[in-house]
Amino acid sequence: MRVLAIDDSRTIRDMVRLTLEREGIETVLADDGIHGIEVLDGMDTHPDAILTDVNMPRLDGFGFIERVRQQPEYAGIPILVLTTESARDLKLRARASGATGWIVKPFDPARLVVALRTVTGLA
């Protein structure tokens, strides 16, 4: 499985990478929404899933998801939102922008992996 993970915090990026790579999941990282799109466009094959933070400079997580979903070729990629908020309206916003699901930070590594496996159908 290959996952594109987007977060402006180096700490969170490192943690996501560590968590995923321990499970044998290949991880590609990006710093913010704009960078995420650049990285996504530059990948030779689509990632199996995308993880994105919400609060980021330049382009936030919702903006990123909307931009991704506008492109038919990316329409099917599952996108999970990593958010520190558990408020329901945040989830609704995530949903409205086209997110597949959400994970609350600080994330439970096992739960993140299970969620990724669920949305990608990959082991």
Binding site: M1, R2, D8, S9, R10, T11, I12, D14, M15, R17, L18, L20, E21, G24, I25, E26, T27, V28, L29, A30, D31, H35, E38, V39, G42, M43, H46, D48, N55, M56, P57, A75, G76, I77, P78, L80, T84, S86, L92, R95, G98, A99, T100, G101, W102, I103, K105, P106, F107, D108, R111, V114, A115, R117, T118, V119, T120, G121, L122, A123
Partner: protein, 691 residues
């Protein structure tokens, strides 16, 4: 290192950067009109600190960051109007956050910080969200909100799953949901095809199939909640009915075996089987993070390279090669390359002084609050870059200088008004590059040095003989002597047993020089001059009294052959020499260094004798007589102070191409040691002209 430890280290590094962004942003918001981008950046900084802290379970940090974030959020959405009082509170909160980060990083015991000021800010805006300690809660979405019901009989579950049209657009895939269900037990999936339209009416984006899943759990106590958790992300995008039957019941719908291939989609990449690897982002950020020890290793290697090159140059010179020979030309290329490599490596270590200056804004705030003096801090040249080590080691000296400036230099507001100054004192912090040195100055518009008092103090302390008459510059220099404090009661701020002598030692340890200028009633400026790099120096190798010595090239203004020089001997026994149209003092380098006159090994060849006109930092030009100028070369600086302490006239040592050790001359120290003072220059010149 445990990977988590490495991430923890990264987190604290990131915190330092974020705190800088935070303070920077708050200061610029305080200074100008609020702009949304800056407010966003400030909010994000605190938000990111909180996020990371939560990941490491740093409850205290999470709690405070949360309070802070709440206030910043109010500022962001306009509920809180940022007046100067508000920013004072926010800046204090950023200081507190910084302290908290440091304490947590260093595992120091800390109490929960006071958040009342923050809460008070909010009570003007959104009272409901203020106050109360925030307790970080980890929300596990897999947990049941209604309380688990644990049946004691194994049941078979039937799950009816009907996707709504939006489901596929959200990236959720029914097949994968079924696979996730499979983890819970054995499943049989039946597609319900009753609603399928005819082909010409089929919209491929709208799901028309419904499924019925029969789940035989592997764990006997599987709950409805655990099943629903699988569909968590699809909650609003489907109709889900989960029902339990006693084993043996059969659902009404016919069961067909689950055939995964029918639902396989073409738009998802096939499962990767390759070994996991982190793929470099194609257009990643243009920076990489490198361990400092690796850079330092490079710096050392370049030093060795410079030495080897000197050895090679000397070898070639001794071989008597023609100046136009290819070997010499290649050597010159090599020297240029070495210099380029050196510059490149030094630029890796170079850091802007901005973070250093930012730290001072905090010191100013603290001292200003403690002394009740209103201070306006002006910073200039924040982008000036200097070696990382220097930036780090300047914090303490600079802190001390800034404290001094406010505590001792700037008058009380009432006194300022009385002498016709603005009640707000100004402290100016500037940095600029001057050839291969960086000059950092701290100046204030206070009362200036009270020289009479300094002299009196020095006399009572026995540092100066009673009745001595010293010129102003000499008195100012007394400030750098150990044991001189002009404040009668030791102030809690500046008088921490650290005097300007300690500052001077710290600056000297960095191969820097420090000087002071003061004007009574107008203010005082302390100037620090530091080498751009601590490792390599462009030097002129000279011979004096039979010893090789190196002078920093940057201090040499001009050179001249000694036999054409016009010299005069003045009444005071001071020799002067004509430089262009004026006389400057002349010293003999060998004598200055304490070698006996005429101690040269072998016959002294006067044909080679030369004069170097040198100008130390903030000092007058003088001439140094040497026996010969040998070469102009880069030398690797090897510090002496660790082993020998401070040596007058000498700043460091180096190893020459032939393996010999040579001392590096300190032009300012030499002038001081020989008793030359800027004031005496004028006097000498006048006397020489008259003679």
């Amino acid at each position: 290192m445990d990977p988590m430890d490495a991430i923890r280290a990264t987190y604290f590094e990131e915190c330092a950067e974020l705190l800088e962004v935070l303070e920077d942003g708050l200061l610029s918001l305080q200074a100008g009109t609020p702009d949304a981008d800056t407010i966003d950046a400030v909010f994000r900084a605190v938000h990111s600190i909180k996020g990371g802290a939560a990941a490491f379970n740093l409850g205290l940090l999470v709690g405070f960051a949360h309070e802070f974030e709440t206030v910043l959020d109010a500022l962001r959405n306009g509920e809180l109007k940022g007046g100067s009082d508000a920013f004072a509170v926010l800046l204090r909160a950023s200081d507190t956050l910084g302290d908290l980060v440091s304490a947590v990083r260093d595992d120091l015991p800390v109490d929960a910080p006071d958040t009342r000021d923050l809460a008070r800010l909010l009570s003007g805006g959104t009272p409901s969200s203020a106050g109360g300690g925030f307790v970080p809660v980890m929300i596990d979405l897999g947990q049941d909100m209604n309380g688990p019901v644990r049946p004691d009989v194994r049941r078979v579950w039937t799950i009816l799953f009907e996707p709504l049209p939006e489901l596929l657009g959200s990236g959720n895939e029914p097949l994968y949901l079924f696979r996730a269900l499979e983890v819970l037990g054995r499943i049989e999936v039946t597609a319900i095809e009753t609603d399928l339209p005819t082909l010409d009416r089929l919209d491929p984006d709208v799901p028309r199939l419904r499924w019925s899943v029969r789940l035989t759990p592997s764990a006997p106590d599987l709950t409805e909640t655990e099943i629903e958790a699988v569909f968590e992300f699809a909650v609003d995008l489907c109709i889900l009915e989960v029902s339990a039957m006693q084993d043996g019941d059969r659902p009404a719908t016919p069961i067909a075996p689950f055939a995964p291939d029918i639902a396989e989609r073409g738009d998802v990449a096939p499962p990767e089987t390759a070994a996991p690897a982190t793929v470099a982002a194609p257009s990643g950020p243009a920076t990489i993070r490198v361990d400092l020890t690796r850079v330092d290793r490079l710096v050392d290697l370049v030093g060795e390279l410079v030495i080897s090159q000197s050895v090679l140059a000397q070898g070639l010179a001794q071989a008597g090669l023609d100046h136009r020979s290819e070997a010499i030309a290649t050597l010159e290329d090599l020297q240029q390359l070495t210099r380029d490599i050196q510059d490149s490596i030094m630029s890796i270590r170079a850091q802007p002084v901005k973070p250093l200056f930012q730290r001072m804004t905090r010191i100013v705030r603290e001292v200003s609050t403690a002394t009740g003096k209103d201070i306006h801090l002006v910073t200039e040249g924040e982008a000036t870059e200097i070696d990382k080590t220097v930036v780090e080691r300047l914090t303490d000296p600079l802190t001390h200088m800034v404290r001094n400036a406010i505590d001792h230099g700037i008058e009380d507001p009432a006194e300022r008004v009385r002498v016709g100054k603005s009640a707000i004192g100004v402290v100016r912090l500037t940095a600029r590059q001057k050839s291969d040195r960086v000059v950092i100055e701290v100046s204030d518009d206070g009362r200036g040095i009270d020289r009479a008092r300094v002299l009196e103090k020095a006399i009572t302390r026995g540092m100066v003989e009673a009745g001595s008459i010293l010129d102003p510059a000499e008195i100012d220099r007394l400030l750098f002597k150990p044991g001189l404090s002009t404040v009668t009661e030791i102030s809690s701020l500046s008088g921490r047993g650290v005097g300007m002598d300690v500052v001077q030692r710290a600056i000297r340890d960095l191969s820097g020089t420090i000087s002071v200028r003061s004007e009574t009633g107008k203010g005082c400026t302390i100037s620090i001059s530091l080498p751009l790099t601590l490792a390599i120096l462009d030097g002129m190798i000279v011979r004096a009294s039979g010893h090789h010595m190196v002078l920093p090239l940057s201090s040499i203004v001009e050179t001249q052959s000694a036999d054409t020089a016009r010299t005069e001997m003045l009444s005071a026994g001071q020799e002067v020499v004509l430089m262009q149209d004026r006389f400057v003092p002349m010293l003999d380098l060998g004598q200055c260094m304490g070698f006996p006159v005429g101690s040269a090994v072998g016959g002294q060849d006067d044909d080679e004798a030369a004069l170097l006109f040198v100008q130390p930092e903030n000092g007058g030009i003088y001439a140094l007589r040497v026996d010969a100028i040998e070469a102009q070369r880069q030398v690797v600086i090897k510090g002496l102070s660790d082993n020998f302490g401070h040596i007058p006239c000498v700043s460091a040592a180096t190893i020459l191409g032939n393996g010999q050790v040579a001392l590096i001359v300190d032009p300012a120290g030499t002038a001081r040691h020989a008793g030359l003072r800027p004031e005496t220059h004028e006097h000498l010149a006048t006397e020489a002209r008259a003679s």
